[in-house]
Assembly symmetry: D2
Homo-oligomer: 363 residues x 4
């Protein structure tokens, strides 16, 4: 922490701030420059509100030096973490798993059809929302428990691991019984009771970046989960809010290499929400893989124009299949691979398969 | 809803879109221009996902015409709503109540001292967080139930109605027993299970604007509460996230007149979070009142430099007292008034007082 | 300047960076903390590209400590600067001059009518664009020299000092011959050749904040003008670009007290561009004055619905007159005053009048 | 154009607006819905300020339907445009040319060294700034004419076509004599006099996206150049300003497919300014190519840590060479190619070479 004193601060002011810092357990380091005096505060404490020193008349600015997360940092864990999502599917290694499916579970027929289609096209996991966070209370809110039942059914019948969102800390246990990966959505990235609850679940958690979250805030949100002892966190970049209206959000692909520099956690990309327009999904999916993404999340609907939510950004199964073919070649060029979906015959619930090549050996 | 067709759409495309719209219960209206064909969809349905039509190759854009909220709109309720916060304090009329107090309840002594000081300075309600949503898990998270107990004590001893934040749907009932107004923080503006729960509580709700929420999204969040039958919603502008780093957020005061044009709900302003710097709080508090705000929320701490959170943006009691004096004169000039705090002798819990002049006659 | 070394930096790395700093003329100051080593670079040089040190593998971050402007800073000139705009009109003191008029000069009749109306309503200066920076090449681009001639005419006939925008360094001399204050628009805030040219002109310059400029970048733009020896700079906040679409821009009124803390230059507010909607202009004009603005710039058009540009944000003369009445009372409450327009009989060109009370005694 | 009337508008209001529209030469189309009345205005005029109708009390909103640019649109020119940059180098076709070099021309030795190094590494064009738009007047502003002379020298000696920025309309002719491609920088995207001047020059123009420009505003800026009869415009995405501070800007790669959908102009990507950090340049350069970029602009400096500007985002020649090798393989996979630099022996000034395979056959 560096404290910059206002010009005109007296020696008494400076000594006062240094005394306060020492009383809080910091060593101090004084540096008096031509235009400013700065005080370095040396110590390991992350739990102190040193920024409150800016309340003093004599303090101009308090500048943090060390990043505010610990468990999520590369320094804490220099090697990339591998997160096992079931059936040998692994995020964070050579594999680039693809999560695909409709925005919402709309009914049994719709979801089973979607599940079969995305599996045939090469998806590695199935997505589908049973609890939908919708801007309007008049929009379709999801089928809730019935939706979870349908997801379980698809999981068994089609044999893909399932990712689904949970909104309410009360529902974590229930959702965890039906799915393989719990998703925390962008609007809930700083829903701290929910983060703690999914942390305690021990389940793999797909943590989407908030609509206006900095990368450091996102890693701090992950830290809430890690601190509960759950290291199975997959980050997901899904676009941030900017002034640009040509796209629903601005997909920040530079977040991929930034996260990889600062953290050991895997990071995937959602070009569907990131752009809001199905025509933009294929180029941005390719770009995400080229930027180093550890996976993709893509909305696919059997009949996008009739979707109860997010149809405008959903690919048809045919467009999705073409995209997966492209992505396979691209991944291979980069020394990675899109894993094949699990065998259609065996149910997903049938226990851990042998890890696929390139899959999780640690988790 | 207006559907803009792509250039080159065929008559078959156009007829197909119109047939779909009619099958969904809309009347259609075709307008073929020089460069574009547009189809108007006439109907009242807010629950349909017409945007999904953008999934069609032939559709360029779907433009909504009517605002997406109903109960929160001026059209639904042309007069301003008055929200009674207890003790005759009313938001939305001639009064401009001031909510003041520390960011967090740090202990009994700190809160009681703060409560007495802000009351002496002219605050109308007391604020203090028992559950704190903190970016870092290592920051002070609040005293939880003990904090609520202290707030109750301050409410009785000092006699000010109390505002406090609730984070978890599970805690709504508990918090509601100790406070007069439930606060939903910026990070939870789209925590829909929480919105429904505070809606069901029937308590006054202070709904802060999300860090990156549009005004329409904010009104949609209010709609979730109203739809549960709870019309006691007070909106609170607290700054939005922009690229500017001179302030913690950018306080969007134009949101005040925009909300008043679109909605009947009262809207107050939080210049403390809105700026993040105590030096900026007085001018922005004045500006908020001049822009037409129905109240203010201001952080005040007995010793800001030692605050466990948000000290940099907290006023000292002396600075706060000077500000309230200014604001009184300004309010009077504008034909409004800062209500006097309730009599120090009578406890807040002693039931509804007579409404103060200019206070709530309806609620 | 503080250089933060990457974790794992060797003593050799550290010594290397310190040697480089010393060779550039800085004194260095080493502080080795638990998690990071930081090097303070002490010196006065603003002209070095120390940020380039981030190109080194061993450097994590370079943090500037001192603000990058000098002549524009409060430290350089602790008292507020007063800028004389002609006829005793002064920005930066007790006066709050109001600049009003149409977005563009559309013709002689329109401008003279507008000039008389805004003067009758209480405007202190007249605005009108002869060179219009328009997003589209198909939009009205202004009358150019003919527009300047009309402005000169209005200045003489109606007797108000005139403010008008200049876009091209080539036109500075010409525009300066016809107007009292040169305006540099938001799109040109970082048009450095233009800034130098208006600096050399010695004329008062109204410098609008760029659409996405930080306050520090804006002050750096002012520094370009000051550095040419021209201290007659008036800053103008006119809204910044954010994700919010309810307003054309987000008017950042907190920029007013921030500028006043960092700089001695006067700062005015343009609520017309700041909101883009005429209904929002009166509340935001009031808020600007309450926040401490040193003036206002307001678009007024005789017939807004027929304006060739920006009609949606223009007040009618009647609405403007009502607003000025309000603002006078507000200014007085705050110990300031809206100066009366110069006597209608004497032409503006008739030389410097006696300074009005509260006007410029220094310039 | 669609005009949405306020609820409560009378038949007289509606007829009045329709009469105004007809008097302006539009056909009108009335559609009276349950909650709103909307009026369609059919016509081709782009030069009218219909938005000014929002000044009317009875008008809620004016919604444009057709995009505001014409010559830049795909509808006007359905095939991609090929822009010949000299020596057979072509933007917009199968080639993906790479422009590389230092931010600024710092001296003859530095530039020649940089030019030889980037050519050896595979760059197709050389960049270097002689006129530098710097936020601070105290930063290095470029060598001006001497810089142009050095660029000419490098062009002849090393044999790469040269790209350099022009800031002032007065300098266009001079700069055009020394370089192959004129660059208009982000800060000048809406410097309309400059756009007209580079339009008149007939030279290829590299038009960078403004820091806070929407894609449509960027295409409108291109329209200013096209309208002068100069169709040799290359767009360059270089990151937009957002709240995120981990990167200097947020590189908006989705702009690449959006531009390709809306326009026929080639679009390249600058990952150096887009990220501001050299470590992020290689992954984002790869992502840009995968997203469909028609070229790259990459800052390379012989000794980045000593660069007079932008060292933190400059690659070393060795890192750049490794990146070009990667990009070649990626381009080939996508059916495109990074063109080889022109033969080192022949000077660039030696006239047009035969077009390289995949190069410009039209231009």
């Amino acid at each position: 922490m560096v404290i910059v004193m206002r010009p005109g601060s007296t020696q008494e002011d400076i000594q006062g701030v240094m005394a306060t810092l020492r009383s809080l357990g910091f060593m101090t380091h004084l540096s008096q420059g031509v235009e400013r005096t700065i005080i370095g505060a040396i110590g390991e404490k992350r739990d102190l509100a040193l920024a409150s020193l800016e309340a003093l008349e004599c303090v101009e600015r308090v500048i943090p030096i060390v990043q505010p997360y610990k468990l999520a940092s590369r320094e804490f864990h220099p090697e990339p973490s591998l997160v096992n999502a079931g059936q040998g599917i692994c995020f964070g290694g050579a594999q680039i798993p693809i999560i695909a499916g409709p925005c919402a579970v709309e009914g049994e027929e719709q979801l089973l059809q979607a599940a079969r289609m995305v599996k045939a096209a090469g998806a590695t996991l199935l997505r589908g929302g049973a609890y939908k966070p919708r801007t309007s209370p008049y929009s379709f809110q999801g089928l809730h428990e019935e939706g979870l039942r349908i997801l379980s059914l698809a999981r068994t019948e089609v044999g893909l691991p399932v990712v689904s969102e949970v909104l309410n800390p009360r529902d974590v246990e229930l959702v965890a019984r039906h799915v393989d990966v719990l998703q925390v959505g962008a609007r809930n990235m700083q829903n701290f009771p929910l983060l703690r609850e999914v942390g305690r679940s021990g389940m793999p958690v797909l943590l989407k970046r908030g609509l206006a979250a900095t990368i450091d805030e996102w890693l701090m949100a992950a830290e809430y989960i890690l601190r509960e002892g759950n290291f199975r966190v997959i980050l997901c970049e899904r676009g941030i809010r900017t002034y640009e209206t040509a796209t629903r959000n601005t997909l920040d692909l530079s977040a991929v290499p930034v996260v990889k520099e600062r953290s050991h956690l895997p990071v995937i990309v959602d070009p569907s929400h990131g752009t809001g327009k199905w025509r933009l999904v294929p180029p941005m999916a390719r770009a995400a893989v080229a930027a180093g993404a550890d996976g993709l999340l893509i909305e696919v609907h059997p009949q996008p124009a009739l979707a109860l939510s997010d149809g405008a950004q959903s690919l048809t199964p045919a467009n999705f299949a073409a995209l997966v073919r492209d992505l396979r070649r691209l991944a291979n060029l980069l020394g990675r691979e899109i894993p094949e979906p699990a065998g259609a015959t065996g149910p997903a619930a049938g226990g851990e398969r042998e890890p696929a090549p390139g899959g999780c050996v640690a988790g």
